[in-house]
Amino acid sequence: MIALGAIGLAMVYSIAEVPNFAHGDLLMMGAYTALLINTPGAVPLLDNLAEGAQEPTTAGLAVLFVLGTGATLGMFYALGGGEALRGSWWPVDAPDAVAVVVHLLAAAVVGVVSSLGATSFLAAMVFSGVVLAALAPIQERYVFRKFRQRDVSLAMMLVVSLAVAFVLRFGVQTIFGGTTRSYEIQSTVEVFGAEIKVAIVKFIDVYVSSSGVLVQITDPAEDVMLFNNLWSWPVFAVVLLASLAVGYAGYRYRLGTRAILGPYLLGTILALATFFAGALVLGASVSAPESALVDSRVRLSVLRLFIILLAIGMMGALHAALRATKLGKAMRATSDNRDLAQVRGINVDQVTMGVWVIAGLYAGIGGTALGFLFGALTITLGFFLLLPMFAAVILGGITIYGALLGSYVVGLSMEVGLFATGLDATYRVPMAFVVLILVLIAKPEGLTG
């Protein structure tokens, strides 16, 4: 979860050279923006256009449509002005007209989704993503770029971003007041006629015993066994070996080429796919063993699973964008060396704007997901996320891929540290910092250097 925020932060840090203290508040803003879709009745000004907490009137829907469409166009515009609207950032060359039409269509789709899909989780996410993606570049355009042109020191940039964070946080508070808000979460979603309870946790139990590895998924609310599979040790070993072999084959196949699917990524994906496929085919159903060497239980709801998948998907999308598009290439170049990139004819200002667009998009989506996970929205939500995010980014050595790694290290260490020391959950954020401080003292350049 930290990862979604950390990616944006890392991109801004490495490419725009802003250690952005406002990023946590950007997430917070994303979470509050989603309120517009989810519970329009609870939003000041918009509540005049709503009949109930979740029943906007036609006028309210029109407002949402306009906001959604406008924000989408704004987002594309921020990618590179009028040029971008004509498709300059696309990976493929397309006639201007096509690009414009596609952009307009996309904007209209977002607008329709925001208004017609109102109150649904996905629509809220999309809406909040595009709104933030349109808002974040404004910060860059009117604040950070001005200061960068003055050549201020990094410390000064920190102070500036702190001030921006203040403006954002209290701006939201001015509009929404200081009270805690919460989303209306539908507990069931109909998919193809079948009702799925999204908010209810499922138990995933893993037992490791002398007879093999057993995985059970149960629904505690209805006490139904959803999935039950045992792998005896030989089978488990075969599956494991097969996946490693397939993974290595994939690695060799791609070795030496630089593409969206690099050798490591392809290898990993193939290995995982083989592992799950093999596991599904070769498993056998039994009941839970009496004695197990290791047993662990993971609580997971469909909602959480969805968010995790979404995060992975978005990381994949970012990876593809960085590797395949011209803009992504320019971003990587700017991240490596800003001056050199400029000398080579890259419009670094434009690239930086693009970075902010992506950071805003991810912050919007991440913030919404966060709001759904926590259930309650507070103004300080972002700030307490900011600290672990920074920890993750610094751990990763201020690179985008490093930030991913850092996020997992920080997230894990927060949980493991709490569990190991038996401390109160209040110490979750400090735990991230203890890790950060230890790493900084031992290896100040970060994990990936």
């Binding site: 250690p19 604040v143 001005k146 200061f147 003055r150 201020v152 020191s153 990094l154 410390a155 000064m156 920190l158 102070v159 500036v160 702190l162 001030a163 921006v164 203040f166 403006v167 946080r169 209290f170 701006g171 508070q173 001015t174 509009i175 007041g177 200081g178 300080t380 700030f383 600290l387 920074f390 920890a391 610094i394 401390l423 109160d424 209040t426 110490y427 954020v429 400090p430 991230a432 910092f433 203890v434 950060l436 401080i437 900084l440 003292i441 100040p444």
Partner: protein
């Protein structure tokens, strides 16, 4: 009758200990270049240490739990809190100082967050998420004091004498500057006034030695004030009036120095601007409907700000003296609020006695006249106490900064390698800078504990660091005196907006309170962009370097 001098007094109290906080920040960032985002952590350490030292031992009550209560006198508590915060500062600095500046800032921010979380989570330590309360500030039983009693006489003697000495010193300084400009003694307003307030001793001691003269005058004033106050309540009142009027006169003398070159046009323009800013707020006072006054006030402010900016860029008089114009516009604004606005409704009702008592009460700021009897209440004593501490800290910081040690600190800020090549270890100096800065934050924390009488972990949010930074940049980076100015400006803004939110429907008050932070953030950004050295800037390098 509306006496608002009490508001000014409470503003002053807040400004004094926040000034100390900013002073600590200045030592760290302004002089040494260490961006300490965890400044609030030391403030927290100081506050809780002081509170735990003075609080009575835990009686085992169910509502308040804390680890230890030592029931020590405040003076010990304040000292220990200061020293302990400094020591904590050293321990925080040891691992973190070797990091790059942005890492340093984030790491210390994290440490401050950890401190806050410890206070919140460990309920045995200082009552956990609930407030720590149950201790009383020093000498509070004696107050309020009135004339005709030994305590009242003593308070008047000490406070009156000190104010007198301070004002006389300020007057002497103004006089000295006039001498430098070529006038003789006793010719100018300042000179004549000085002769009066030193009770004629200035001729005995000599005009050059105005510092000694101020002390003598203060001592005489202390005796006079003490005797008068002991004799009768009327004497107490009379002497308070004299002291208050004297301070106003000194303020006027200094103002005329700042306004040198001002003529009627300038005064009128600044007055008009100040009045315009006040007038822009009028819709807020008079209109009830929120949909009506919000756009109207916004529009009015846009117009006034637009006019100000236009004048600044297009009018020779303004552009030549932006500082004087800004100062006087602000002063007029404050003045309009302080006197005319408070008597407005009484004048309209032709209630003249009330008008007179309002003006009197606001002018005689030394006494609180809101009660039945004129008295010196605890807030005024607190202001006096904190103000004295602030001045002492300020003096000591100035000494530190002007010493060779301070010069090394500034050299570290400018270029660390130079210091290194001159054979001094920057690391040790940085540690010491952190210790001093943190100790000042601890002192501020102890005073805050004294002031609020209740401590909750939310009071130590990272916001405090931001406020300290704002004061730092507002006043001037690397300028100790400017910290006090910055603190006063910040709290003046806060007080003004608090007063304003009193006119707003209660449901919106929270939004207004949040909105003022937005305004503050925007102003801060503008300040950072257009005047990164702060309003006053660093004290002229030549002045500091020639010593």
């Amino acid at each position: 009758m509306a006496v608002v001098s009490d508001v000014i007094i409470s503003l002053g109290v807040l400004a004094t200990f926040y000034g100390l906080l900013a002073l600590g920040m200045n030592i760290k960032y302004g002089f040494t270049g260490l961006l300490d985002f965890g400044h609030v952590g030391f403030y927290l350490v100081g506050a809780y240490t002081a509170a735990l030292l003075v609080i009575e031992p835990d009686a085992g009550g169910p509502d308040t739990v804390y680890v230890v209560g030592l029931d020590l006198p405040w003076i010990v508590a304040v000292l220990v809190a200061t020293v302990l915060a400094g020591v904590v500062g050293v321990f925080v600095a040891l691992p973190t100082l070797r990091l790059r500046e942005d890492y340093l800032a984030i790491t210390v921010l994290g440490i401050a967050a950890i401190f806050q979380r410890i206070v919140q989570a460990e309920s045995w330590l200082v009552n956990g998420p609930d407030a720590l309360r149950g201790y009383t500030p020093p000498l509070i039983d004696l107050f309020p004091v009135t004339g005709g009693s030994p305590v009242g006489a003593a308070v008047m003697a000490v406070a009156g004498g000190a104010i007198w000495a301070g004002s006389t010193w300020a007057l002497g300084r103004a006089m000295e500057l006039e001498f430098d400009a070529g006038t003789g003694p006793g010719v100018t307003v300042a000179g004549r006034l000085h002769a009066v307030v030193t009770f004629g001793t200035d001729r005995l001691i000599g005009f050059e030695n105005y510092r000694g003269g101020a002390l003598v005058a203060g001592a005489i004033a202390a005796v006079v004030g003490g005797v008068l106050s002991f004799a009768a309540q009327d004497g107490f009142l009379a002497w308070a009036v004299v002291v208050s009027v004297f301070t106003w006169l000194v303020a006027f003398v200094w103002l005329t120095r700042y306004s040198s070159g001002f003529d009627a046009v300038d005064y009128l323009t600044t007055f008009a601007l100040g009045a315009a800013y006040m007038g822009a707020l009028a819709p807020m006072f008079f209109l009830e409907t929120f949909q009506l006054w919000v756009p109207l006030t916004g529009l009015a402010f846009a117009v006034v700000i637009g006019v100000t900016v236009y004048l600044y860029s297009n009018w020779q008089r303004f552009a030549a003296r932006p500082f004087g114009y800004g100062l006087f516009t602000g002063l007029w604004f404050g003045f309009i609020w302080y006197i005319p606005l408070q008597i407005l409704s009484d004048v309209a009702a032709a209630n003249w006695p009330s008008v007179a008592s309002s003006i009197f009460g606001n002018v005689v700021w030394v006494l609180s006249l809101s009660g039945d009897v004129p008295e010196i209440g605890y807030p005024r004593f607190k202001l006096f106490l904190f103000g004295t501490l602030l001045l002492v800290a300020l003096y000591l910081s100035e000494l530190t900064i002007d010493s060779p040690f301070g010069r090394v600190l500034r050299a570290i800020r400018n270029d660390e390698r130079v210091v290194n090549s001159l054979g001094k270890d920057p690391f040790m100096y940085k540690i010491m800078s952190m210790a001093i800065g943190s100790a000042l934050a601890g002192l501020a924390g102890a005073l805050a504990a004294m002031h609020f009488q209740v401590l909750v972990f939310t009071m130590f949010a990272p916001r405090v660091t931001f406020i300290a930074l704002l004061m730092l940049f507002l006043g001037g980076v690397g300028n100790n005196r400017a910290m006090v100015v910055g603190a006063f400006l910040f709290w003046a803004f806060q007080t003004a907006t608090t007063q304003l939110s009193g006119f707003v429907a209660p449901g919106l008050r929270e939004n207004i309170q949040a909105f003022r932070f937005v305004v503050m953030g925007v102003l801060f950004l503008l300040l950072l962009y257009y005047r990164p050295q702060g309003l006053m800037g660093e004290r002229a390098a030549a002045e500091a370097g020639s010593e």
